[in-house]
Amino acid sequence: MSTTRKILYASEDAYTSIKANLATTILSSVTVGFALALVALFLIIFVNLQNHVEGFGERTHIIAYLKENATGVSKELIGTDVKALPGLKEYKYITKDEALDRLKEELGEHKAIFEGIKSDIFPASVEIKVKDTYRDPEKILETVEELRKLKWVAEIQYGQENIEKFAAFLAFFKLAATILGIFLTAAVVFIISNTVRLTVYARKDSIHIMKLVGASDAYIKVPFFFEGILVGLTGGIAAAAMLELTQFFFTGRIPEYLSFIITNPFGWAILVILVIVGMVLGTAGCLISMRRFLRA
């Protein structure tokens, strides 16, 4: 009975002390909000760019053109040979007819120039896609080398330059993003913990007095616990709002083909996560930074 009342009283205390320190609380919420929004925005841009850039990789494939008059080469033999390649994901046999059809399709309205041309002038080919893990240049070369050894292969096309450039770019992109992410996270944790510390520091006299009067640590902690939750909650909501605003602001202001960058790929989840992360950081920060004053 008295425990329930203590919890009730401590919660009322939380209300009065938050009201009395409203300016600090709002300031903390806004700071936490900005910090969280920054991280979330970074995460969104990073994930979008990574997906986009990996899409490039998805489109790179190896094409092996068949020799014109390779005797004794059947579709079955080609199939067995290709299946033995390291890193194979899937392959597709393209006949001379299909090659012509494709070209016509690509030419669209100009396809008339191919009227009457026989598909015979085009080589048949095998299109090979490699596994994700095989998408860097060295690995792809492994596959290409194996392909070269096959007797029915005339010529191989695999966009060497593109793949190398792409791999270098992807590596740089990931490194840069990781470094940036570490700095950003460190900065944000620093900002949030300092904001919280200042809030607690501003009330160190109160903590001291409550102790002198005989309040238990738990009783003293309750208002800070609530304040941590409140700061985190409002900070998280502020961050979510800032994200929505950013997206709203940029929509129509940047070229269509770039708009994928700020499109939130996580949906509502990220807003919920922001609020939860804010609450956890806020509460943990509050409780950790007040320990010092409780011991004194």
């Binding site: 425990t3 009342r5 009283y9 009395a20 109160s206 007095i209 009067v213 309040a215 238990s216 640590d217």
Partner: protein
């Protein structure tokens, strides 16, 4: 109730705030502690309250040795000990009523009881008209009365008061002492640090005189106690 044996307190330097003090205060006693500024009065009270620990010697308060009390039990020991701090120690983010009520809220007493007891106490000390004010907007004397109210509301078994009448006019000073006496009559052990000669002369109680951290030999009545030096009210 309170036993000190050879208790010393050094804050940092080599000058002791309290030196080899041996004292015995019985349950239900009313004791004045006097002496010039810096003599160690506040230090003695803080040692008894447990906010400072002795650097030497042994002491027992209410059957407990603070040097051996686990940290989490300390709040419970403080709930039945009232302390009127020299610098009041009021919460700036709570109004007068809530400052006083805190002492009961932390014990989880029913709301109605808290309201009634706090209102009565504020009325008795003539600050009920300030109940909803912030302590910062009060005069020194009013703040002192809030501090006294918070100490007495606990119905303490031990009441420690550090210069509790320093900011009160004589009339109110005597009224406060009457409150302390009343508590004492109910069985509360009362220890008041003061340099107010009028109080010392008016109440014929035991007087412990400190000087440079030492207890001066007991001289009985206050008339013969040494006149305190110019008090800086520290």
């Amino acid at each position: 109730m309170i036993k000190l044996f050879n208790v010393s307190k050094y804050y940092d330097g080599s000058v002791p705030a309290l030196l080899s003090t041996t004292l015995n205060i019985e349950k239900g006693e009313f004791v004045f502690i006097t002496g010039p500024s810096g003599a160690g009065k506040s230090t003695l009270l803080k040692l008894i309250y447990g906010t400072e620990l002795p650097t030497g010697g042994q002491m027992i308060v209410n059957g407990r040795n603070f040097q051996k009390v686990p940290r989490r039990e300390v709040p419970y020991l403080r709930r039945r000990t009232g302390f009127v701090f020299q610098d009041f120690m009021l919460l700036k983010d709570k109004n007068v009523f809530d400052n006083v009520a805190l002492a009961l809220k932390i014990r989880g007493l029913p709301k109605d009881e808290i309201k009634e007891r706090v209102s009565n106490m504020l009325a008795y000390l003539k600050i009920q008209h300030r109940a909803n004010f912030n302590p910062l907007s009060l005069s020194g004397g009013e703040q002192q009365r809030v501090a006294i109210a918070r100490a007495l509301i606990k119905e303490p078994i031990l009441l420690l008061a550090d210069e509790p009448t320093g900011n009160l006019d004589p009339d109110l000073a005597f009224k406060t002492m009457e409150l302390f006496k009343e508590a004492n009559n109910q069985g509360t052990t009362v220890i008041v640090a003061t340099h107010d000669r009028a109080l010392l002369d008016h109440y014929h109680k035991r007087i412990i005189t400190l000087d440079h951290g030492r207890v001066l030999p007991r001289v009985g009545q206050s008339e013969t106690a040494p006149q305190p030096a110019e008090e800086l009210n520290r």
